[in-house]
Symmetry: C3
Amino acid sequence: MTNPDPTPEFLMLGTCDYPEHVPSDRWAPYARQQAELGLRFVRVAEFAWSRLEPRPGEFDWVWLDDAIAAYAAEGLRVVMCTPTPTPPAWLIRAHPEILAFDEQGRVREFGSRRHYDFASPMFREHSRRITRAVAERYGAHPAVVGWQTDNEFGCHNTSRSYGGASEAAFPAWLQARYGTLDALNEAWGNVFWSMEYTDWAQVKSPALTVTEPNPSHVLDYHRFASDLIASFQAEQVAILRELSPGRFVTHNFMIFESGFDHYDVARGLDFATWDNYPTGMLEFFAPPGVGEDLKTHYARTGHPDLVAFNHDVYRSLMLGKDGLGRDGAGTPNGFWVMEQQCGQVNWAPYNPLPAEGAVALWTAQAWAHGADVVSYFRWRAATMAQEVMHSGLLRHDETPDRGFAEVAGLDLTQFPVGPVPARVALLHDYESLWIYDQQRHAAGLSYWAQTVTYYMALRSLGVDVQITHPDADLSGFAAVVAPAITLVPADRAARWEAAAQGGVPFVFGPRTAFRTPGGATWSDGQFGPLSDLTGARLLQYDSLRPGVTQGVTGAFGSVDASLWAESYRVTGAQTLATYAGGPLDGQSAVIRHGNATVIGAHSLDLIRAVLRGVLGGAGVPLLDLPEGVRVSRRADRTLVQNWHPHAVAWGGLELGPVSSVVLGGDWTPTEGKGEQGE
Amino acid sequence: MTNPDPTPEFLMLGTCDYPEHVPSDRWAPYARQQAELGLRFVRVAEFAWSRLEPRPGEFDWVWLDDAIAAYAAEGLRVVMCTPTPTPPAWLIRAHPEILAFDEQGRVREFGSRRHYDFASPMFREHSRRITRAVAERYGAHPAVVGWQTDNEFGCHNTSRSYGGASEAAFPAWLQARYGTLDALNEAWGNVFWSMEYTDWAQVKSPALTVTEPNPSHVLDYHRFASDLIASFQAEQVAILRELSPGRFVTHNFMIFESGFDHYDVARGLDFATWDNYPTGMLEFFAPPGVGEDLKTHYARTGHPDLVAFNHDVYRSLMLGKDGLGRDGAGTPNGFWVMEQQCGQVNWAPYNPLPAEGAVALWTAQAWAHGADVVSYFRWRAATMAQEVMHSGLLRHDETPDRGFAEVAGLDLTQFPVGPVPARVALLHDYESLWIYDQQRHAAGLSYWAQTVTYYMALRSLGVDVQITHPDADLSGFAAVVAPAITLVPADRAARWEAAAQGGVPFVFGPRTAFRTPGGATWSDGQFGPLSDLTGARLLQYDSLRPGVTQGVTGAFGSVDASLWAESYRVTGAQTLATYAGGPLDGQSAVIRHGNATVIGAHSLDLIRAVLRGVLGGAGVPLLDLPEGVRVSRRADRTLVQNWHPHAVAWGGLELGPVSSVVLGGDWTPTEGKGEQGE
Amino acid sequence: MTNPDPTPEFLMLGTCDYPEHVPSDRWAPYARQQAELGLRFVRVAEFAWSRLEPRPGEFDWVWLDDAIAAYAAEGLRVVMCTPTPTPPAWLIRAHPEILAFDEQGRVREFGSRRHYDFASPMFREHSRRITRAVAERYGAHPAVVGWQTDNEFGCHNTSRSYGGASEAAFPAWLQARYGTLDALNEAWGNVFWSMEYTDWAQVKSPALTVTEPNPSHVLDYHRFASDLIASFQAEQVAILRELSPGRFVTHNFMIFESGFDHYDVARGLDFATWDNYPTGMLEFFAPPGVGEDLKTHYARTGHPDLVAFNHDVYRSLMLGKDGLGRDGAGTPNGFWVMEQQCGQVNWAPYNPLPAEGAVALWTAQAWAHGADVVSYFRWRAATMAQEVMHSGLLRHDETPDRGFAEVAGLDLTQFPVGPVPARVALLHDYESLWIYDQQRHAAGLSYWAQTVTYYMALRSLGVDVQITHPDADLSGFAAVVAPAITLVPADRAARWEAAAQGGVPFVFGPRTAFRTPGGATWSDGQFGPLSDLTGARLLQYDSLRPGVTQGVTGAFGSVDASLWAESYRVTGAQTLATYAGGPLDGQSAVIRHGNATVIGAHSLDLIRAVLRGVLGGAGVPLLDLPEGVRVSRRADRTLVQNWHPHAVAWGGLELGPVSSVVLGGDWTPTEGKGEQGE
């Protein structure tokens, strides 16, 4: 099931609450206040293991029974969690082998959260045991409408353990994948530095090697760790399905989390949720174009496109690798923002207060990108331990904080649920991410940075985007953009070629099809199996240090690329732009072969110009949005957003600082489309 | 006893000498030269364990007997040390469990100094043994006038060990503090992430946790480690009192050392000493306002206020937490500068030569802030091992270095001993420091940075300052400034309230009373038990990244705050300044309630303006000192200092570059007070 | 033997090839293509252990037999390697004690390369065993003309292991060096912090100490580790001499490698080779004067002087510490560039494409500095594992890469072999490097930075340089420059004094003769035993933080020194320049005493001015080369190089961008010597 409400018409709201953190006499008044604020969901108990099972096998359900009763009394629906992110001290001290190891070979100790190795048989047993216990107690509770597994897989770099149970389990995983050591050695290219193995047991985690480990070794360790997370969760999901029929099961994923293949981990869920912290995100995940000036400019709102990208990732995630989704028809089911920032966070170097209007803007944007529920983190700011500096809807002293007022002011009837009319696919793949980031070659670029740059170009053109796995059925899209799919197996190439021949235009970024599935390069070079589609082969790639740029000139005008420039030897493609000056002078920078366009140079302006041409040709309606103004569409409505801290007049609209307006689905700007330029 | 001289009238000088580092034929001529230079004290033997006890139980006293005889022959008085900072190889290799662990879980190896865990029972035994041996030999020696325990507790981050003996001793300390595990779990808020303990033995040091440990856990580990240092020293002091009657016992503390509660560790001493290295200090401890430009400007002198702050900390330290001091009358006894920089240091990234005049200026400043003895480090520059690049009064080749000439030129009769007429208390507390720095929320601020900013404001107004523990009797002060006392128990709040009602004006900085004694926040929010006094509650706090400022406007004019801004809901207080613009627009920035003024925004200009008003109203005489000019008063004299590398005309005085002048205690500037502005 | 060619007349070329990385059907066509390109040498098998001995004691020679046959069929001569840099998994997992430890105490794991401790008796045994096996198989093979031992000793910080076998072997090495513990303790100055040892077994590696270890301890650990490498290689060389008579033995050294004494390790070889990567080098080894602007300017060529310096180091290396060389006549035998960058590298933060012409320029420069063979790395870019982003002469897809065309265009008859007419010695010594860098005192300076600054000054004057060990016979040089020989034993000082008295002018940089052989300072101060020659003693040294400069004025005009300034008390010397302003005002900055000139201040302009005077006086012909233009001479020819990315008119020449021209040995610039200034 996608939503517990039989007929959800509009965006719904919720919050994350921790009854175990406050005296029990606060439960009833809090629930009442939550209901009065218009909240309909409360997520509870993800960190409550030590209170649910204070000693081995001794369960204490009374407090949670009572807390749930308080919520139920106010009509609130409860999202219950498996409390596995925080195994209690009695379990860890009895079985220290549960603990994980970091890349420096150190045990990651008890004393915060996520202190476990997904591969630990002992922890697996306890995970199943506590999941069963909680599900037996609450699986059929009428107030419990769904489940969250664990919490934020991968947070604090916990996707992988470099020792202990994980390391011990790795050889068997390899054996299952490769069958023979010869196949393993061949796939990894272990001949390179005499790294060939003669016994499965010789293989360890790719940590603490004298210099960089074999990137293929790393790639497979990432795959292995991802599989562990998927199977860990699957064990919980199976128990929940058995004991909690009719309830949804989800997980709250994280901003730009790279530690596992989200498509695999999402597979058994009903819908995805994620935790949206726009201001902290800006400090940690801003791509190269977003320098200190923009970070300061957007300090109190975050950057619109970084947030939107994550919304689109998680809206699309349940479509899976085949793109068909649970209904087999490729319709994304609604996602949730399970944790929505509603005041300052506490985990960035600086943690500014959100601007006036930011909480409302974030909520509206979440809706416009497909969220059915936005759940604020957290109800009341914690008065103890690691997160006392993090805000909630209530302050420490229980007075309503600034975000509370913005939530109270929301008119949810503005936000009907319904489809996001995204006709452009942006391809995204965790295996490409892993192998790209192993060998960046230009320190300032990364898989996320390259991918988000293309996404920003699309949003600046007013285009709604469907983040899509590269192996999905692409035939229905108006256009496909593949910013950084560097790992392209032969079957993927064949599917793309078929789609292109079927009329779908493709735009590829640099490094596309540079890698084999094993993480090597094609012996016939980039584009490997995609060479027929692109009508070209790689000639050179260049890594541009800060201060070095590479001119590109073509029908789009002239721009300076930074960070990366690669050129092509055309074997059928036409050249749309060439390099000017430098080692690539006169070589092809942008090429087109039938429906396939390849952009070799990293330049937001160039990418935008090429996309404008391709999408325009494909009949995708385009806008020229000024910096900080964004347009998103859903359910036949249009949300126009101003992320600037100042008012903006644009498109016939007077947009207040940090605000948005909901217009009709057929709305178009009336006074010119881009009079404020970019 | 406070001073070995029966009737010290003027500042006295000394040096740190290492007879074991030079041939014995240098001892007599060095002593003669020291006496001729006017030095009266020599500190010896703090690192000499391997020479005093070359093999287990085999003592060699002859060389030290002879060296002391050489000093005594010239009338020099000897400060003897317990040699515990450097346990010799034979002890460490026989008992490696003495070694401490760093926060990364690594053993901290033999091969430099301070390689021991304060909790090690084995090391405690040897500490007592060697202390007794040295005290038996020299405790009654007529030339020996006092003792220094160990050397620079905490240097090189040695206050805490994160493993081994310390970690093993922690549970018992907790049990003694909390009695029950329930009390521990409640105090730490361990429910937060299921961190609750069910057995004392489950608790370890707060190291290597997956993400940040519970700040309450860290706070108590700091308290525990501080107690270890206090009890370690107390064992030595007891032996010295027994075997060396009539001699003083002291310890040489360090610049801005944060590793332990200095009030607790100082408790059993006769007076405090500290080690003053102004140029190195500037590189490591300059607060936010002192950027690269000022570091370059003051590269050859250090910053006047950083040095002065430490003088005032150590002058006031022996007053203790109750503020009554050893005489019960609140009179600070004289402190020493045990190690005074007299040339370049060797431990900063860059180690410039001091400016001409700097050694004389530092000496005069030390006197003016209450020092009775200034002892230069070191007599002759070391010709071997880790510190060969550090200067002494003599060069490697035994010629007098630049500092020697400045010492020789001092007229000590300018520097009579006597009280520092400080009527303004600045509150300082190590527990507040520990919990503040655990969760800075704005990376550029820290407890020291915030505290020193207030101190700089006071010095720029020409105010003499008494650094005071927040639990001291405050009734006698003209005013009390509490820059960053974030941990405020109820009894402390009650005492402050009584003092304020008794007529003492208070000025509080941001984050005051944000924390409970356990390190949590008050469930009724800041100001917790101080709410009645402040007549207000915390509304918002904002963390300002570099480039983001927050306007403040009021009767003081308009300023831009950086790094931090917090606002208040007044419940009785009046608003003296409000925020302008941004999320805090129109909210209270500076408030006053009776005798309590709270400054919510971080701005040196604002702090200075508020202090000027409060202190002026309290009858404290104020000056408007230009940057780099400072005034300090002692014993009815006034020391006017120019820390600039250029001459300055101010207040009717012509001040040479890097110089000072001693004037009468009633001196006031004659040609306008601030004609050079700030 | 120095060269396998009986009568090498001109520079020869080669490449590094990896037959084990490609299908066997590529061997013949590759060899043919290599021969057609004019290559004459192929280096093979340095990482091939796992293919040569796939299982313990099971050897597979067939593939390498066949590959060598393919090369031989095309007349290519093979340089075989001992495959010891990459011991295979079966060996490491059976004997994990072979692995080394890093300075953090962590085992350095299998999974890349160089995963061994030079001190491991087990690895020594296997090193001898595999060397013998390979030498037995190929030692007398007619196509095999020489050997490379191992590969790039020291790469990835592998010169030293801080634990395990190395740490265990250290005490015996010390005992052999010092005889008694008293001598050890005295040499190290262990009395300093009671670090005295009473048993050899107490001494460990200088790692993980609480604060910095004793620099003398570090110095001896460096010497010890260097000796291990020398003896490790000597074992291989002895076997190769026995089993492969008439073939040369060499090693490929690295850019600015500091991990061992290259003179000692080179001693048993026939000639030296090194691996030349100009662009990567620029990112990692640029001295202080080469800031971000110059890094960007030279991003596609590297800096001419950094490359030239390494050429000169390795050309001169075989002359040994006595300067007499293998022929006893002080004639450097020809060196090789064993690995020459011919496209982008993959190991810097940014890895730009070389400029058009760079490969030809690098090749010509190598020749002009004495290379007899330049061997390009690598034939075909690797398609697997750690180095797929590194270029080769062929691309991944086997098409010729850009460097291929430049190699094909070389006219080797322009490059006759013959002597480099270097008459100026620049002294270089690894012991000075080690002790200098232990205590830099000014973070921005280092031994290499100071040394290269003097080298840059020499090259800017058009001077050919012989890098020379300070203990060599210096009597034949026109002048001797000693930039940073800080460790000067008495016998060295005596030899220098004799040479100076014999008419050789010396120019010394700061910190000269600051240190004793044990790493301490002289008890009579700098210049210790060199004081008679310099006619002066050290007065002060000053460490200048960025932003602080120190004026120097003299007959050379006025300059501002940065980073370092030291002054002298003259005892016979005359003062050529004095300091102006600051703590050194009026003190001697540049002094001269007979044939000895000392420059106390760090300033490229000052150094250049002083060198111009001294060298001009010594009859060395000088030029005034503009930035980026360089002149090198060999075999009666002159190579004029333009390293700028733009054309330059200079000296009557029109120099294209990134190009060089070979002129006669007596060529001099005709249109003024320095019209473009510096």
